[in-house]
C-alpha cells in the first residue's frame, strides 16, 4: 500500500517536471537562436557594411553609412584596381603561394615518407627537430631573417619569400603527413619490393596516392598561410612590383586614407575570392586549420 502511494507520488512529480522541461524547451530554442544569430551578425556585418559602402560615392557614404547605395558605382572598383596596383599584387601572391605550396608539400611528403616508413638512427631526432618548428615564434626570426637574406643577396627578388614560407610551413606539413603515413599497413612496401619497385617508385606511385586526403589538407592549409602572410613580406620585400596582396594593401590604405569607399572597393576585391574559396572548400579548410589542434 505504502509503496503504491510513493509510486503515485513519483509519477505525479514526473508529470510536473515534464511540464517544466517542456516550458524550458519551448523557451530554449528561441534563446539559442537569438544568441547564434547575434554571433553571426557580428561576424558578417563588418564585411557586409564594407561591401555595401564600397559602391557609394564619398559623399553618399558620409551622409548615409548604413543602407544600400542609391546608385551602384562600379567605377570605384575600376579606380581601386588601378590605383592600388591590385593586378600586380594578385599575380605576385598567386606565384608565391602556389610555388611555395608545391615545394612544401613535395619536400614535406618525401621527408614524411622516410620518417614514417623507415627505421634509422636519427629518425626520432629529425622528427622532433621538425616538429619543434611549430612553436618557434615567427616574429622572433624577422630581424635575423632580414640579415640572412641580405647576406645571401636574396632581398627583393621574386624568389625571396619562397624560402621562409617553405621553411615555416614544413613543420606542420610533416607533422600531419607523418602521422597519416604511419597508419598504413606494413606489407604495402613488402609486396611492392617483391614486384621490384624502388624506394622512390614506392613513394611516388603508392604512398603519395594513398595519402591524398592528408595531402589535400596540408595543401589548403599552406596555401592559406602563404596567401595571408604579411610579416616576412613586410621585412623582405620593398620593390613595388614584387609585393604580395597583404603587403600591397597595407600600403595602399596608408596612402589613400581619405578615399574610404575606394579603399573598401579594394578590400572587397581581395576578400571575395577568399570567401568563395572558403565556401567551396569549407570542409577541407576547417579540417586543415584545426588539424594541428585536434592532433597536437
Amino acid at each position: 500500500m505504502e509503496s503504491q502511494l510513493t509510486m503515485k507520488k513519483n509519477t505525479k512529480t514526473d508529470v510536473q517536471s515534464d511540464k517544466k522541461v517542456n516550458i524550458k524547451r519551448f523557451l530554449k530554442k528561441p534563446i539559442i537562436y537569438i544568441a547564434l544569430i547575434v554571433f553571426s551578425l557580428l561576424n558578417v556585418y563588418p564585411i557586409v557594411w564594407m561591401v555595401i559602402n564600397s559602391f557609394k560615392s564619398e559623399k553618399e557614404f558620409s551622409l548615409d553609412p548604413f543602407f544600400l547605395p542609391d546608385t551602384w558605382r562600379w567605377e570605384n572598383y575600376v579606380e581601386a584596381w588601378e590605383t592600388a596596383n591590385l593586378g600586380t599584387y594578385f599575380l605576385n601572391s598567386i606565384f608565391v603561394a602556389f610555388t611555395s605550396v608545391i615545394i612544401t608539400v613535395l619536400f614535406g611528403a618525401l621527408a614524411s615518407y622516410f620518417l614514417a616508413r623507415f627505421r634509422f638512427k636519427m629518425n626520432k631526432f629529425v622528427y622532433v627537430l621538425f616538429v619543434f618548428g611549430m612553436i618557434i615564434p615567427i616574429h622572433a626570426t624577422l630581424v635575423p631573417m632580414f640579415i640572412l637574406m641580405n647576406k645571401l643577396g636574396l632581398l627583393n627578388t621574386g624568389w625571396t619569400l619562397l624560402f621562409p614560407y617553405v621553411a615555416f610551413n614544413l613543420p606542420l606539413t610533416i607533422f600531419i603527413l607523418t602521422s597519416f603515413m604511419k597508419a598504413f599497413p606494413k606489407d604495402i612496401e613488402e609486396s611492392a619490393i617483391m614486384d621490384g619497385c624502388g624506394i622512390f617508385r614506392i613513394f611516388w606511385s603508392i604512398i603519395l596516392p594513398m595519402s591524398r586526403p592528408a595531402i589535400a589538407t596540408v595543401t589548403i592549409l599552406n596555401f592559406i598561410h602563404c596567401w595571408n602572410e604579411f610579416s616576412f613580406a613586410l621585412v623582405l620585400i620593398n620593390d613595388e612590383s614584387l609585393k604580395t596582396i597583404p603587403l600591397g594593401l597595407a600600403n595602399f590604405a596608408g596612402q589613400y586614407n581619405t578615399n574610404y569607399t575606394g579603399q573598401m572597393a579594394g578590400l572587397t576585391m581581395v576578400i571575395i575570392p577568399t570567401i568563395l574559396l572558403y565556401v567551396l572548400l569549407e570542409k577541407h579548410i576547417v579540417k586543415g586549420m584545426t588539424a594541428g589542434a585536434v592532433k597536437g
Binding site: L36, L110, T141, F163, A250, A293
Partner: protein, 291 residues
C-alpha cells in the same frame, strides 16, 4: 628490414631537401640573432662588439617593459575572451538545430581572412569620423559614447583586443564543437536518467570530457596571441604613445626605423625566450590542473 640497410643513401636524399631549407631558414636565424645580439651594427657600416650592452639597455628601457605588458594583456584578453565565448557558442550549437551548418560556416569565416584585410576593415569600423561604430552610436542617440577608438591611448588597446578576439573566436568554436561531438551520447543519457539537469550535465560531464581540447585550445590561444604583430602593425603601429606596442612592434621599430640591427636581434632573443617560457609554463600549469 632488408630495404633499410641498402638505403641509407635514399633516406639521405629524401630528407635533405626539407631539412636543408628548414634548418637554413628557420633554425639558423635564431643562431644568427644570438651572434648579432652582441653587436652594435647599423646594417652597412662596421660592426662593433658590445658584449651584453644591448640586453642591458633593453632591460632598462621602460618602453620595452610596456610592450611586454601589452603582450601579456593581449594574451589574457584572448584567453578570457576567445575561449569562453567559443565554448558557450559550441555548447549552444551542439544539438540538432535548423541552420546549424550555416552558423558553423559563418562562425569560422574570419579565421580564413587575411589579418591585413581584417585590420583595415576594423580600422574603418573604428574610424572616429566615418566609422560604423561612432556613426551607429550617434544615430541611436548615444553620441556621448563615441570615442576616438584607436586614437585615444585609453581605448586603443581595448579596441585592438576586440578585433583579435573577433578574428579567432571561430577557430576555438570549431575545435570545441568537434570535441563535443565526440562525447558519447550514452553517457549523457545515463546522466539524464539519473536526474542530472542540463546545467549539471554540462558542468560535470561534458566539460570534463572535453577538458583536453580546452587545454589544447588555451595553449594554442596563448602561443597564437603572443605572435600578434601584423594586426597591431596595420591598425595602430603601436601607437598612440606606445599604448598598443607589443614586443614584436618594438623590435621592428628599433631595427628598421632606428637601424639598430644588433639591438633588434637582442630583442628577438627576448621574444624567443619569453614565448617559449610562457608556453612551457602554461602547459605545466594547465596539465597539473587536469590531473
Amino acid at each position: 628490414m632488408h630495404i633499410l640497410q641498402r638505403n641509407k643513401l635514399a633516406i639521405l636524399i629524401g630528407l635533405i631537401p626539407a631539412l636543408l631549407i628548414y634548418l637554413v631558414f628557420s633554425i639558423i636565424p635564431i643562431v644568427i640573432s644570438l651572434y648579432y645580439s652582441f653587436m652594435e651594427w647599423n646594417g652597412f657600416g662596421a660592426m662593433k662588439f658590445v658584449g651584453f650592452q644591448n640586453f642591458i639597455e633593453i632591460a632598462r628601457d621602460p618602453i620595452f617593459w610596456k610592450a611586454v605588458k601589452n603582450n601579456i594583456y593581449v594574451v589574457v584578453a584572448s584567453v578570457f575572451g576567445q575561449i569562453p565565448i567559443a565554448l558557450a557558442l559550441a555548447l549552444l550549437l551542439n544539438r540538432k538545430i535548423k541552420g546549424g551548418k550555416l552558423f558553423r560556416t559563418i562562425g569560422f569565416m574570419p579565421v580564413v581572412i587575411s589579418t591585413v584585410v581584417i585590420s583595415l576593415t576594423w580600422n574603418m569600423l573604428y574610424n572616429s569620423e566615418i566609422g560604423f561604430i561612432n556613426r551607429f552610436l550617434e544615430s541611436i542617440g548615444l553620441g556621448s559614447l563615441t570615442q576616438n577608438w584607436l586614437g585615444d591611448p585609453k581605448w586603443a588597446m581595448i579596441s585592438v583586443c576586440i578585433t583579435i578576439i573577433w578574428q579567432f573566436v571561430g577557430l576555438y568554436f570549431i575545435i570545441f564543437l568537434a570535441a563535443l561531438q565526440n562525447v558519447p551520447s550514452e553517457v549523457l543519457e545515463a546522466a539524464e536518467i539519473d536526474g542530472a539537469s542540463g546545467w549539471k550535465r554540462t558542468l560535470f560531464i561534458t566539460l570534463p570530457m572535453i577538458w583536453d581540447s580546452i587545454l589544447i585550445a588555451v595553449i594554442l590561444c596563448i602561443s597564437g596571441s603572443l605572435r600578434t604583430f601584423d594586426l597591431i602593425y596595420v591598425m595602430t603601429n603601436g601607437g598612440p604613445a606606445h599604448s598598443t606596442e607589443v614586443m614584436a612592434i618594438y623590435m621592428y621599430e628599433k631595427t628598421f626605423s632606428s637601424m639598430r640591427y644588433g639591438y633588434g636581434s637582442a630583442v628577438s632573443l627576448y621574444i624567443f625566450v619569453f614565448s617559449l617560457l610562457l608556453i612551457w609554463v602554461s602547459r605545466l600549469l594547465l596539465q597539473r590542473k587536469s590531473r
